[in-house]
Amino acid sequence: MPELASTQALDTFPRLLFHHAQVRASKTAMREKDLGIWQCWTWLEVAAEVRALACGLAEMGFTRGENLAIVGDNRPRMYMMMAAVQCLGGVPVPLYQDAVANELLFVLLDGEIRFAFVEDQEQVDKVLEIQAQLPHLEHVFYDDARGMRHYTQAFIHDVRELMAMGKIHHRNHPDLLAEAIANGHADDVSVMLYTSGTTGKPKGVRLTHRAFIAAAQGGVDFDDLTDSEDILSYLPMAWVGDHLFSYAQAMVAGFTINCPESAETVMNDLREIGPTYYFAPPRVFENLLTQVMIRMEDASRVKQKMFHYFMAVARRCGAEILDRRPVGLADRLRYALGRVFVYGPLKNVLGMSRIRVAYTAGAAIGPDLFRFYRSIGINLKQLYGQTETCAYVCLQPDGQIKFDSVGRPAPGVEVRIAENGEILVKGAMLLKEYYRRPDATAEAINADGYFMTGDAGLFDDDGHLKIIDRAKDVGKLANGAMYAPNYIENKLKFFQHIKEAVVFGDRRTMVCAFVNIDIGAVGNWAERRGIAYSGYTDLAAKPEVYGLIEECIEQVNRELVGEGVLGDSQIHRFLILHKELDPDDDELTRTRKVRRNFVAEKYAVLIEALYAGRQSQFIETAVKFEDGRQGKVAADLVIRDVRTFPLARKAA
């Protein structure tokens, strides 16, 4: 392979790619299920396609340092395009594929995007919708040609044309690509990821080859990952987690990434591939467990009994066996039986039979949920990090798992707790800068070179980091007691019946909550009790459902009493919202985090009603449907009081 001189260090992604094309040429690098069959690309084939893409881009006038937008589901060619852009010293900018046109507009303008690579007609249509407002945009390439026959605009091209052009270009200029790769530097920006924007406008986070390779190498060494791992790439490409796991680590370790057929088939594809290395946000693990539990309730008596018996065994000793701690012989035997009858088949159904390491991050995971997966023998661990740190700050080491911490600082990462409780980190994996926002960069990195995460946390006695809340969200109640809203919300969300919760209490006399029920779990619960309902709004208003949620909240209050300073944060009153919080209505970010201030403003009347002691409140809300139409949802919301528990105050 002429692209890579043997003297070059493997310190950029293009060099890693062409290195794999030499040393593991015929090993599978990527798979995608298409037309019912897993189509494969070897490292050699990937390198050839990347070469064609890169040379095609060069022919079209793509220049060093320029940004290129990538919008679509996880597809091999989308990942190849990233590598192709990096070959030319450009910066790929992956965007969320479910973003609406106006959200794309901001990034495409901010990044002065001339070239965009999109998946299909749907994405092309979005770009066309805002094209008049994009003075820089010159070329749009698409991957899936379906439905594109009638698009005659000269700036829209099939990516296959680009590759054909690239092949010709490469024949005429055989040295160009090798030179471009040789000119690349580890400190060049390798990717720009936009932060989800829980606060204000999204910011482009510029990360270098050095940073991402350091983070990936650290993770690979930490968990002894080899080139024979299989990972399912199904999380948005714009998200730092996917970029680390599916792109950076695969490039470093040389393992195989697998792209599902479509978003609806992920579960099936997971089962077929049986990944050895798996990453999912807590909500995915939660959905899986909910599905299992619902199906168990419909199973026959015998199966139910068997399931519950062996799950009790697993709860008792499963996690200990996984951590290689001493467990009695009787329990070991029971666990071995359980593996045959329950855990093994269950893991198989979940597609997790081959998993060596599974990670979760992005939000807090419920202790019950976490324990469940570990107890049936899945090595599920938590990690902590953010876009600015390549999602690489803390990892839980094998055998030292604590449910309420995110583990020890990862190799090569330095973590400090500031005086106000904020977590500060330093290491090779830090961002270079925010794109065209020197002010924001200066604000985020302090004089000693530490990145200020904005999270509040503390180290426990074993040196494990525990995250409490966003530093800026931690507030005080009117009586001066500490108030950590996310901490309480997470406790609520750990109940399977509660999908989302927003609590209020900063500088107020008491804590109150909005709740979104989980339509799947509560719907099933209602069906079992013969409660008829017509939809979310109707179900949410049922007195029985209110009763169910009240019980959950009461339990949270009971737990909070036992947690010292947080005992004052017991929830006094709550209501169940008449609609689900939705990113399309700007209530959640695309990564499904609540935009607290926006929600507080939008539903100000409800908050007022909560604190004024009213028993119900009428509200009408505009909603946006997926196809862009608008509608209204109105309801008379009931407000309930919840039992709180007296604090055992220290005797004065």
């Binding site: 298409d34 019912g36 026959r149 609806e264 088939t265």
Partner: protein, 260 residues
């Protein structure tokens, strides 16, 4: 649109059909041009489904003839119709409920299977190669209709709208030149109807398939068809493009009602 409507490929001449004393169709003539979407509308009992059944040979009209690509058929039968490239879907879904989606669609390839029963039973040599080729074709249909996620689900477990889509898939697996759709959108909600419209237009546009469809939903018919035939009590009372039909007074009184 880039597709061009071609010559007449299907011509029905003076067709009359009676069941005993009941006259289902009386002296009906109309034609279908290549690549067009042709709708048949009319109130309940107007003879729409009978018309479709005559075209693919389920019913034999007492009078009249069918000219398909210049060939005259006094008597059409379903086998001949299928061989001539006509496939259809049914108003009341006629799928094999216990079989998976993929197997159901595979049955649409039946006519194209060349190897004999013995070889197929042994699944050996040419039979195996052939099945793989057919399976690839079926996968294209599945991809086209975006039903990958239910590939292996038994049809009986699917919601109605998806069953309709599978029914269409089976008809498409035949690679028909003329596709007959009997109320493809009956009983669907708005979203399912939109999807189905999209698929019908895509089939017509991408494969150039000629489509004859019966539909009750006026909005759908007027939006997607090139020409419309209107039947009432077995007689043809209107024929033309949607605008002409909409303004035809006889049609308005018989079907659309005074409100339109």
């Amino acid at each position: 649109m880039s597709r061009e409507i071609g010559e007449v490929i299907l011509d029905l001449k003076n067709v009359s059909l009676a069941f005993g004393g009941v006259k289902a169709l009386t002296d009906i003539s109309f034609d279908v041009r290549e690549h067009e979407i042709r709708a048949i509308i009319g109130p309940n009992g107007a003879g729409k489904s009978s018309m479709l059944n005559v075209i693919n040979g389920v019913y034999r009209p007492q009078q009249g003839e069918i000219v398909l690509r210049g060939r005259r058929f006094a008597r059409m039968n379903p086998y001949k119709a299928a061989q001539a490239g006509i496939s259809r879907t049914f108003q009341n879904i006629a799928l094999f409920k216990g079989m998976s989606v993929i197997d159901n669609i595979m049955t649409g390839r039946n006519l194209k299977i060349r190897t004999n029963l013995l070889l197929q039973a042994l699944w050996w040599g040419p039979a195996r190669r052939e099945e793989l080729a057919h399976r690839a074709k079926v996968e294209e249909v599945i991809d086209f209709l975006e039903i990958q996620h239910i590939r292996k689900t038994p049809v009986g477990r699917l919601p109605y709208g998806l069953q309709k889509r599978v029914d269409l898939g089976r008809a498409l697996a035949m690679e028909p030149s003329i596709l007959l759709l009997d109320e493809p959108m009956a009983g669907m909600n708005v979203e399912e109807k939109q999807d189905m419209c999209r698929f019908i237009l895509d089939v017509n546009d991408q494969f150039g398939t000629t489509i004859v469809l019966i539909e009750h939903d006026m909005g759908v018919v007027m939006d997607i068809s090139d020409r419309v035939v209107v039947l009432d009590y077995g007689k043809k009372i209107g024929d033309g493009d949607p605008d002409a039909v909409r303004s035809n007074p006889e049609v308005v009184s018989a079907y659309l009602g005074a409100g339109h």
